[in-house]
């Protein structure tokens, strides 16, 4: 069984588990993207209606934010998606980066303040610096992503003669590890800088408020038993036992 097969099986199993566990079928969030980018995961996704997936009105409007506003070439987005999933894979705890919408989250972030490094000091001169001096590249974050993804593609072609998103998981990990160790030359920055930005962005997308486009259906929070936005814990702070609380997102303010 290849890694990819495993993922598919897993997703189906998870879907069944979820829909039986959660009243109203609070859903998987992976379907639509799976269909779109084709690497992954859940072929069921294509046929599910919003009713079946438990998507209500608001979640439909969330789904309509699933389009690209930064990436232009869909292949780049597919490579990014595959990389995010290796960093935060689907497992028995719940969805991975793709299922959580993390690639869209990253796309949207790259188009805005984060990607354009609007709050960073970007004046020259630029020198490499020591490790303790931090980021010193003239590239904005979205340019670092461009370079990183370009080299993920190139490295994949060079080493395996295949597209990055078509490699099996272990091969993808092998390449990502080379990036992590700074071994792949990038223009204007280092591959470990790209990798650590990517890793942080994946966690940010998995666990930030769903308003940003990741953490679909608060599944990231549910895995960690994090209740998201709650107005007050005054009546619970002294509790002796662990509290499982149904999460809420910022969205509750707009109902």
């Amino acid at each position: 069984m290849t890694d990819k097969d495993q993922k598919v099986t897993m997703t189906r199993r998870r879907f069944i588990r979820n829909s039986s566990l959660v009243a109203g079928g609070a859903a998987i969030g992976g379907g639509l993207i799976g269909a779109l980018i084709g690497t992954n995961l859940d072929n069921d996704g294509k046929v599910k209606t919003s009713h079946e997936t438990g998507h209500n009105q608001q979640e439909n409007s969330e789904a309509s934010t699933r389009a690209l506003i930064y990436f232009t070439d869909r292949e780049d987005f597919q490579v990014l998606s595959a990389a995010t999933e290796r960093i935060f894979p689907e497992d028995e705890n719940g969805p991975g980066a793709i299922g959580l919408g993390v690639p869209y989250y990253i796309d949207h972030q790259l188009a805005g303040n984060y990607g354009n490094s609007t709050r960073e000091y970007m004046q020259g001169p630029f020198f490499p610096g020591t490790e303790t001096q931090g980021y010193q590249s003239p590239l904005k974050r979205n340019q670092v992503f461009n370079e990183g993804i370009r080299m993920l593609k190139e490295t994949s072609q060079k080493n395996y003669n295949k597209k990055f998103d078509e490699l099996d998981g272990e091969q993808q990990d092998e390449i990502l590890s080379q990036f992590e160790q700074g071994k792949v030359p990038l223009r204007g920055t280092d591959s470990n800088v790209f990798f650590s930005l990517l890793r942080s962005a994946v966690l940010e997308g998995a666990y930030s408020d769903p308003v940003y486009g990741g953490n679909a259906n608060m599944e990231g929070w549910k895995m960690k038993n994090f209740p998201g936005h709650q107005a007050s814990y005054l009546s619970q702070i002294e509790a002796k036992e662990f509290k499982k609380i149904k999460p809420q997102s910022l969205h509750v303010f707009h109902k």
Partner: protein
């Protein structure tokens, strides 16, 4: 040409805790005060959407915009300093209320030992206890002299707490009772008691109950909402300048607040300041604001920078050891331990910025240092500040940092780990200092401040000792795996450590070794008062603001005196 405005009694450069306190005290007594703040206005009603970890805790919405101004950094004088291009090691405040908006509210008083550190260390351990390159010095004021001002600040902010069994004498109880006891604080206290230590509830400016301060300002009761450190409080329950001293100043009718006003110069005639020059950052227009007195209240970094660019006071030279501005920059040493618990889950997602318990047994000179190779120590605390999921992905050592195993473990341990952290004192060292960068400029064409800083032997020895103590407590608390945090070889500007920067414009009794006297009045410019942790000759084993607040009240008293009598106050 800068447009010249009518003269006022007082200008504060920056409006955080220090600028707010000075404004409230002087405006109440009838002086006309202008507060110049480079950032925007903000208040409790801006925090309705504040439970957003990404926006506030990761992208630092409430903090300094480094595209406009930052610092440069190097570990040693022989390196080239480079810009801190994004916030990292510390999170400098910007906007009305400064860092007082997004602080935790852990409110301590420094120890009696701190204020007389050289005298007391030499008396007990001899002259050679600490090497000649460690520039420790007495503060020119004692704990007892400062006590009434500690008391005043605690009343203004309504601190909820109980006294440290090993702290300085207090004239009054805390204004409000301690915060609630939780499974976590209780466990820490029981374990430390078993080890013969003296735990107490952390003094907190997240209030245990609603409180009206002596100025008539209302502070509400904390809801333990878990979005506190790095966030503003949507309840007005975390005491900030914005819910206390700033409205107090405004009610007098003697206070004028100007936001989006970035001060670039203190105008100085060689003896006194005559006013300040500032830029309206929205229009680019330049103004000159003449004033009888200047309160420099722009935090440690810019307090030093503005004196250096305005050429007030003698810049510190690490080679000759002469000069004072930029001298004795200190930080803090953060030993601690992490405990992983297999069988228990904790409600760590609930909490408040200053909910915790502390022991002072390894702080100051509360233990004998005869056989250790460092002085001072640190407070050791457990806190329950609200662990949020982006920032907290705890995994035991040797776990990969991404992929399947990382995901599974970081989820498993998310509610199954606790952290004991110490705030270790930082001693001044000859080559740790601030000056102006020769190359890089801010958005207004002014040089960036250059920080030269690294950890010392003293730091590393202290780290090891206090770290081991914290692990003993963690073991006693029943953790299955205890990881003692190791000291970094070199100070690194990238990972967040603490916003407890100190020094650069230090206080003392001698103009040759200090920049300000014990009213924080400059020796070289009698109408300039430089207020903040910049005045600390070293950093103690606690959060700074309790002591900053006390010194601000002291400085306000000094400014009032000066407005009547003029001249040097000591």
């Amino acid at each position: 040409m800068a447009k010249k405005l009518p003269k006022v009694d007082v200008v504060t450069i920056g409006v955080g805790w220090t600028g707010g306190i000075i404004a409230a005290e002087l405006a109440k007594q009838g002086l006309k005060v202008v507060g110049l703040e480079r950032g925007a206005s903000r208040s409790t009603k801006d925090f309705l959407m504040v439970h957003d970890e990404y926006r506030y805790a990761i992208r630092y919405e409430l903090m300094q915009d480094t595209s406009k101004e930052t610092i440069t950094f190097r570990n040693a004088p022989n390196e080239r300093a480079l810009p801190m291009r994004q916030l990292g090691s510390f999170l400098i405040g910007e906007g009305l209320g400064g860092a007082g908006v997004h602080w935790n509210g852990q409110n301590f008083r420094f120890l009696p030992y701190d204020f007389q550190i050289r005298t007391m260390t030499e008396k007990k351990y001899g002259k050679n206890k600490i090497g000649a390159d460690y520039l420790i010095q007495d503060w020119g004021i004692t704990y007892d002299q400062l006590e009434p001002y500690f008391d005043r600040f605690e009343k203004t902010i309504g601190v909820s707490g109980e006294p440290s069994p090993l702290g300085g004498q207090r004239s009054n109880a805390y204004p409000t009772p301690p915060m609630k006891e939780t499974v976590i604080t209780k466990r820490f206290k029981e374990a430390s008691k078993k080890l013969g230590l003296h735990p107490y509830h952390m003094p907190s400016a997240n209030l245990s109950k609603a409180y009206k301060n002596p100025d008539g300002e209302q502070i509400n009761a904390c809801q333990y909402c878990g979005f506190c450190e790095r966030f503003g409080c949507e309840y007005g329950a975390k005491t900030s300048p914005n819910v206390t001293v700033i409205p107090t100043a405004e009610k007098t009718g003697n206070y004028e607040l100007r936001t989006h006003s970035n001060v670039t110069r203190i105008l100085y005639d060689g003896k006194k300041a005559t006013g300040v020059r500032y830029v309206d950052v929205l229009t680019g227009e330049e103004f000159e604001q003449p004033a009888d007195m200047i309160a420099l209240t722009s935090y440690v970094m810019n307090n030093a920078k503005l004196l250096l660019t305005s050429k007030i006071g003698k810049p510190y030279d690490p080679n000759s050891g002469t000069g004072v501005i930029g001298k004795n920059y200190c930080y803090q040493i953060l030993p601690g331990s992490v405990g992983f618990f297999e069988k228990e889950q904790f409600n760590t997602f609930m909490g408040a910025g200053a909910l915790g318990a502390t022991v002072d047994d390894f702080n100051g000179d509360n233990f004998d240092h005869s056989d250790v190779d460092f002085i001072h120590g640190g407070s050791v605390s457990i806190t329950q500040t609200g662990l949020r999921p982006i920032q907290n992905n705890p995994v035991p050592p040797d776990t990969p940092t991404w992929g399947k195993e990382f995901k599974a473990k970081s989820i498993h341990y998310y509610n199954r780990f606790l952290n004991i952290g110490a705030q270790g004192a930082s001693m001044p060292f000859r080559r740790n200092y601030m000056d102006l960068d020769p190359t890089y400029k801010d958005a207004y064409g002014e040089p960036l401040l250059r920080l030269t800083y690294d950890f010392t032997e003293q730091d590393k020895n202290l780290f090891k000792f206090v770290g081991e103590k914290s692990s003993e407590i963690m073991k006693e608390m029943g953790a299955d795996t205890v990881v003692t945090i190791k000291s970094a070889e070199k100070y690194n500007i990238v990972p967040y450590q603490t916003t407890h920067n100190t020094g650069g414009v230090i206080m003392g009794a001698d103009p040759n070794t200090s920049a300000v006297n014990n009213y924080l009045q400059m020796w070289d410019a009698e109408n300039v008062f430089v207020v903040g942790a910049s005045a600390f000759p070293h950093n103690s084993g606690y959060n700074p603001t309790g002591t900053v607040g006390a010194l601000a009240y002291r400085a306000a008293e000094g400014m009032m005196k000066y407005s009547k009598q003029g001249g040097s106050l000591v």
